[in-house]
């Protein structure tokens, strides 16, 4: 008995030591690779990830080598690109779109020594796969507040990419926040079924404007919806998405959600360098600095700006959750009871509209 315990303890100790040894080893030089879903010049999502990559280079100089591939389609092509990167000596690979989830896990199985970091996904099937995400819906609540107060037609719009939980969070948070400040508000959702197709994004924005919508939020990656809104000559406003999109200030871009990946990338690559790297699942929001609210311009009245900033600050302070009950689902069934806030599990698997939004979610 004693001997057995002793052996077990020794084995565990040995295990810890080797594990600890491997961790403490660190690395002299890290090759960090990034897979982008669009071109860096999209001015939005991919641009912002690339800023993060540049920040890593800035922070560690010679100790890191950056490699990236733009416009990688989600699916089989992604798997090929990932395999090539892993074979090409990448130590850590950041896959920066939801659709890379399965390819990332599949390739990670074949390269246990390479670290994989998948953005916005939830699958960590292997010990070398970590996930990271940002609580974009917190930013949507700020935008919804502006939208609800600014709309003159009481029609606000949302350009959806794909009906995945992240987008559903955004739509529902946007609508709930707008409804809170303007009970008459109606939301139109147009599904573009693309992350990046400026012609289609512009057409979607145009269709919304034709329908009388005067505040547009986009969940796609380019600046095309803002360019379309700009044609309306101040009658239609919108928001920068993923990046600040400051070229469209002060109007139609009245505020923005900025994805600030740089601190996370710097931290993770740093951890790999000094040997403290561990598998993780990070989901930070406004409070954690991963979601920044871009400057609210003077195109909105002071009281709107103040209300939006209060929402932002309350969320940062933790006193306000964008999903606070009572909230019912679209079909009238109960979701959150009075005063309850949405558990993360519900948000990560969200596949429904909240009560008041019309239309069906494409399957």
């Amino acid at each position: 008995m004693l001997r057995r315990t002793l052996l077990a303890t020794a084995a565990a100790g040995l295990g810890l030591m080797t594990a600890g040894g491997a961790m403490a080893a660190g690395m002299d030089k890290v090759k960090a690779c990034f897979v982008y879903v669009g071109p860096i010049g999209d001015g939005g999502w991919t641009y912002q990830h690339h800023q993060g990559a540049l920040a890593v280079q800035e922070a560690y100089g010679d100790k890191v080598e950056i490699q990236y591939q733009e416009s990688v389609p989600e699916g089989a092509d992604a798997e090929r690109v990932l395999t090539q990167m892993a074979l090409g000596g990448c130590n850590i690979i950041f896959t920066t779109s939801f659709g890379y989830m399965d390819p990332t896990n599949a390739v990670a199985a074949k390269f246990p020594d390479v670290k994989f970091e998948h953005a916005t996904g939830f699958k960590r099937e292997h010990p070398n796969v970590s996930t990271y995400n940002a609580r974009f819906y917190e930013g949507r609540a700020v935008q919804g507040t502006i939208a609800g107060m600014m709309t003159k037609s009481n029609k606000i719009g949302y350009i959806g990419s794909f009906p995945i939980p992240e987008v559903m969070n955004g739509i529902n948070a946007y609508y709930l926040a707008a409804k809170k400040v303007n009970p008459n508000v109606e939301l139109s959702v147009v599904w573009a079924f693309t992350w990046f197709d400026p012609a289609k994004e512009a057409d979607s924005a145009k269709a919304l404007i034709d329908q009388g919508v005067d505040v547009i939020a986009a969940h796609t990656d380019s600046t095309a919806p803002l360019a379309e809104a700009a044609k309306a000559g101040g009658a239609v406003i919108g928001f920068g998405q993923a990046s600040d999109m400051e070229a469209y200030k002060p109007s139609p871009r009245v505020s923005s959600i900025i994805d600030n990946w740089a601190p996370y990338y710097v931290e993770r690559v740093g951890a790999l360098l000094d040997g403290t790297y561990e598998q993780s699942d990070v989901w930070a929001g406004i409070a954690g600095g991963e979601v920044l609210i871009g400057d609210i311009t003077d195109a909105v009245p002071a009281e709107v700006k103040a209300a939006a900033e209060k929402v932002r600050d309350d969320i940062a302070a933790g006193t306000l959750h964008p999903f606070t009950g009572p909230i019912k689902k679209q079909d009238g069934s109960d979701w959150l009871a009075e005063g309850a806030t949405a558990p993360d599990g519900d948000l990560l698997g969200m596949n429904f509209y909240v009560e008041g939004i019309t239309g069906d979610i494409p399957k």
């Binding site: 416009s71 147009v190 400026p198 057409d203 269709a207 034709d210 360019a227 019309t358």
Partner: protein, 310 residues
């Protein structure tokens, strides 16, 4: 005045804008095919027009110069096609497909530093007072000059093909190049001109996408518009005014499906998204089922190379 939450006036006004690129490209291809040349590289020429027009407009600050640049870019690429098929007598189908792939790649290379830049704006042509007339205002007077130009080009192509000596020669070359040659016309030179004209119009259509409709540059911005233009030529049975109808039909359905979504239609999005393509296929099937008429209208020498010593 609304049907299912959609205002038909606004719908017609926006479908006229959405159709300009495919209309111009289809007209260019129509003229090329009337001369007996099948150029499947429309997509490649359009995207070259899109990037060349964009670069010219950004550097000159003038949208008009941009459109000229776009037309030149499209024409320049079409001359590559003309050289390979008319001088070296290569297969037109294969060369056309290669031209598309080449155009997509070359435009991507040229556009490397032009992502995220805003081109100068192309405004409405007519004064605001005219545009505010109900119904007629938005449909007839509310557009930029390219929309009017595209309709003028339809009329011009129709008139030239139907009523002028040039049109007669062009058609003769396309129907029987050997007869035209025997009459003393320089078949390959005429075809070269037709190809360059087709390229210029495709380039103009592409420039409209990058300068007006989107307006910015990204890789693959034409997103298959060139293939639709090719289908419209067949749909129109090589008649200019029918090409206008075809282009408006296609543009109309594209705009309608997004509007239906925004208006909260209960029809699933997937059906709406595929409807333009479905209608195109349906129309092509119907057109060609009436054995003969549509097929008969195709230029007899379409796709055949000509060599005088044969």
């Amino acid at each position: 005045m609304d049907f299912g939450g959609i205002n038909p006036v606004i719908l017609i006004a926006s479908l006229m804008v959405a159709s300009v690129p495919i209309l111009l490209a289809a007209l260019g291809e129509l003229v090329t095919e009337k001369a007996g040349v099948l150029n499947l590289g429309v997509e490649g020429m359009m995207i070259m027009g899109a990037i060349c027009g964009f670069i010219t407009a950004v550097h000159s600050g003038s949208p008009v110069a941009g459109f000229v640049g776009g037309a030149l870019g499209g024409a320049a690429l079409s001359l590559v096609f003309a050289f390979v098929t008319q001088v070296l007598l290569a297969n037109q189908v294969a060369t056309g497909l290669a031209l598309t792939l080449f155009g997509l790649g070359l435009s991507s290379l040229m556009g490397q530093n032009y992502n995220g830049i805003k081109p100068p704006l192309t405004g409405a042509l007519l004064p605001a007072t005219l545009r505010e007339i109900p119904v007629v205002g938005p449909i007839v007077f509310g557009h930029d000059w390219m929309v009017y130009l595209s309709i003028l080009v339809v009329a011009a192509v129709w008139w030239v093909l139907k009523a002028t000596r040039l049109g007669l020669i062009l058609r003769a070359v396309g129907e029987s190049h050997e007869a035209a040659h025997a009459l003393g016309y320089r078949v390959r030179l005429i075809r070269l001109g037709a190809i360059a004209f087709g390229g210029a119009l495709a380039g103009l259509g592409g420039a409209y996408i990058s300068l007006v409709r989107v307006p910015q540059w990204v890789d693959g911005i034409t997103a298959g518009a060139g293939w639709i233009a090719l289908a419209i030529v067949v749909f129109a049975s090589w008649k200019p005014w029918r090409a206008l109808i075809g282009a408006y039909l296609f543009g109309g359905i594209t705009v309608l499906q997004l509007n239906l979504q925004a208006a909260g239609s209960r029809i699933p999005v997937e059906y709406l998204s595929m409807s333009p393509y479905l209608v195109t296929i349906l129309v092509l099937v119907i057109m060609s089922s009436g054995r003969g008429r549509a097929a008969l209208n195709a230029p007899a020498a379409l796709g055949q190379n000509f060599h005088a010593t044969r």
